[in-house]
Symmetry: C2
């Protein structure tokens, strides 16, 4: 799939401008980070790097795309050589990134991209969108999973995701955030995720009686059968399911007062000797409702969460930005760049994030502030989060699978102090700025006052 | 692109179940509608039909997808004939839909799909996602455009959209809702939308001085030049832009207090004789902020709106559902179906929506309640909204272009009474249910009480 045009148009006019200004040999360093954590979020779980890498490795322009650009009024005065350059454009730069599944805080780079200016500029839009979106969903999933206190959570939200493709990516991100699987079959195949789901209300309605619908489902799925029992009357549905006996996995409720209904359903199943049959609950759930249900002790084994998870409904966007921090020109000293705009100021220079047990240190990438006694080695309790991923346009090692990332996320989340996991209270993890980085900032600000 | 698996997994287990239960010759009728309008919305502008049609016409399963399904535990007991059927599956049904750009209300079908049960079931997830999402964004766009009171609005949100592909579709939907264009270059090519955007802060920062950045931009873009003036100091930036003189389109502000800054910028441009130079404002805008800015009389000619528009941030999901309303079996009378679940009850039978000047009538599809004097002709002031689009798997006529849809939306929106356009007040357009439809509902409810 051609991806070159999947960017903001101004990236392309700027690319033409860099070409015209003979800046194609200049290399820029950009960092992608979250300016401010959204409402109700004490961390952001990084996700979407695999798709960002795929994009960078595949980036190119087809001749049809280039013809389209040539036809636009904005490119009327652009030299033909620019379009020739675009036809041959490939990503040749370096990418450093934190592993997917790492909890991140405001101002910390999720990735650092160093590349010829044109390449770095064109990539901005796609990187922001894919990393911002998946990180948003992975974070929401972590909250929902936390609320479920060990009961499994499955992502069911494709139908309400922002486009079918967003549904596939939401499934991946939700799995990284701790979900047990997804209802999205394409995501199941593409990312090797467990897939869940058996039948909807339409299944029940397509048969003349609920009983016949249940019998046919059991014949098909046997031990994997999940009866949806609320199409007509939930308790009546539970009795019909119980009457059929094993094999079955269990039943699903998609409406009604779960605090009242689920114990009654449990009792019906138990009286029929179906103590191993499970109860699944779905229908407009989120972390707050699940928290309440779990606190009320509902006998629910598995929660299916759709809309609120796959759209991160209470915080549907992430203030993720991509800012230039350095410029290297063949005939000049490195320039450190920053933005002074009101409320949107950024810190100059490429950075590294060092994670300690109780805080992070945001430092210059050239620093090794964590080396005790200056022996050049990192304290083993300290981790440098940004790692090389692509060097000179080549992926340096295979990326982890979704399962490996999910495991990494669980380990990282396990190390965060419990206030960070609060569903209700905000808690600021301490992110300290190194004195070298502060000094660079002060120096560049003085120089920028022109 | 193979699309078969881009669905909820339970659609596929149900498909296997229908096959097993010898229900493949049964035809189902499903309707897609919004159960309840979201907060702050008095209508939903239908959008996404073109992508829904594309999906139905392209729907198929690759052998790799079928091999994947065979490998899953849920399909362990499924007969090989089912997978053979799946390999040959194409959409052979009928689709009726309201034209994109039509304002819709709760309970009214955006589309009616009549097809063999398996096909109708598999299509559910994709149809809900693509129509729900684009309708959400088109509706948000209509609000933002309304707030701008004639000033142009451009969609700038791809970087915060829920995946890059969602950004492309959001651009299309926003254009339908009344935006003048988009920053998304791919959407520009794919849907022939006007594209906007010239340079970012990174452009300015990549040059040693702001002045050099501006000069290079003007050299490239001439009459299309838009200087971004807030990287270092907005008024200083405005003076630098003014000093360069024509040609230019104008300047852009992306931060700061627009009520204070834009008149000052206007004065700087005017004093330099640049009365035709325009001012564009961007940066975390939405319909409420634009309403305030316009009320304050800011001299802004064009608003760029990103995050809030492309995620419909104040209402990031739409309660769009797809419900079976009829079942036709070769050896039985037609069955009318409904759902009785608490709070989720639906009306049975295929429907038509008749739009009058001051209300809608939701009727049975077989009714012609709008024929005055029973002469079999519709009153010309009344419109039947659902039209045939696909019959027996074939598109009956070319779909309108995005521009045509945008024009249709503008006409439809112009006919809605002004309370429907309020940004703040909720107003319920009257949707009356015909007596025939009510009678059918009562009859089916009696029968469903089993």
């Amino acid at each position: 799939m051609p991806l070159g045009l999947l960017t903001d148009f101004y990236q392309l006019t700027m690319a033409a401008g860099y070409f015209q200004a003979a800046k194609t040999s200049e290399r820029a360093t950009f960092e992608l980070f979250v300016r401010k954590l959204p409402h109700n979020r004490n961390f952001i779980l990084a996700a979407g790097l695999a798709q960002a890498v795929e994009y960078l490795l595949d980036l190119r322009f087809t001749s049809g795309e280039i013809d389209y650009l040539r036809s636009l009024p904005q490119f009327r005065h652009t030299s033909p050589e620019f379009f020739e350059m675009l036809a041959g454009l490939r990503f040749t730069g370096d990418l450093f990134a934190v592993p997917e599944g790492t909890p991140m805080f405001a101002g910390e780079p999720f990735l650092t991209l160093r590349a010829p200016l044109v390449e770095a500029q064109i990539a901005e839009t796609y990187l922001l969108s894919t990393i911002g979106f998946q990180s948003l969903i992975a974070t929401k999933a972590a909250r929902v999973v936390k609320a479920a206190l060990g009961r499994e959570v499955v992502e069911f939200g494709t139908r309400r995701a922002h486009s079918p493709e967003a549904g596939v990516l939401a499934a991946r991100a939700a799995f990284i955030g701790g979900c047990a699987g997804t209802s999205n079959a394409e995501a199941g195949l593409r990312y090797q995720l467990p897939v869940f789901g058996t039948a909807s209300h339409a299944w029940v309605m397509s048969f003349a009686t609920e009983r016949e619908a249940f019998e046919q489902l059991q014949r098909l799925l046997r031990e994997n059968t999940v009866y949806l029992i609320d199409t007509y009357d939930t308790l009546e549905g539970a009795r019909r399911a119980a009457a059929l006996g094993p094999p079955l996995w269990g039943v699903r409720l998609d409406s009604g007062n779960l605090v009242e209904l689920t114990p009654a359903v449990r009792a019906i199943l138990d009286r029929a000797g179906l103590r191993d049959a499970k109860i699944m609950a779905t229908g407009d759930l989120n972390e707050f409702k699940i928290h309440e249900l779990v606190a009320a002790g509902v006998p629910v084994d598995l929660f299916g969460v759709g809309t609120e998870l796959s759209t991160s409904a209470d915080a549907p966007s992430l203030g993720v930005v991509y800012k230039m921090v350095e410029m290297d020109s063949p005939n000049e000293d490195r320039r450190y760049t920053l933005k002074l705009s009101e409320d949107k100021a950024t810190l100059p220079g490429a950075k590294q994030v060092f994670r300690y047990a109780d805080h992070d240190l945001l430092a210059r990438s050239s620093e090794c502030p964590a080396c005790p006694g200056g022996n050049g080695r990192l304290d083993t309790a300290v981790e440098a989060l940004l790692h090389p991923v692509i060097l000179q346009g080549r992926l340096i090692e295979p990326l982890p699978t979704a399962s490996q990332i999910r495991q990494h996320a669980a380990e990282c989340l396990g190390k965060l102090p419990s206030p960070c996991h609060s569903l209700f209270e905000s808690h600021a993890w301490r992110v300290q700025v190194s004195s070298e980085l502060e000094a660079l900032d002060a120096q560049v600000r003085r120089g920028a006052a022109r």
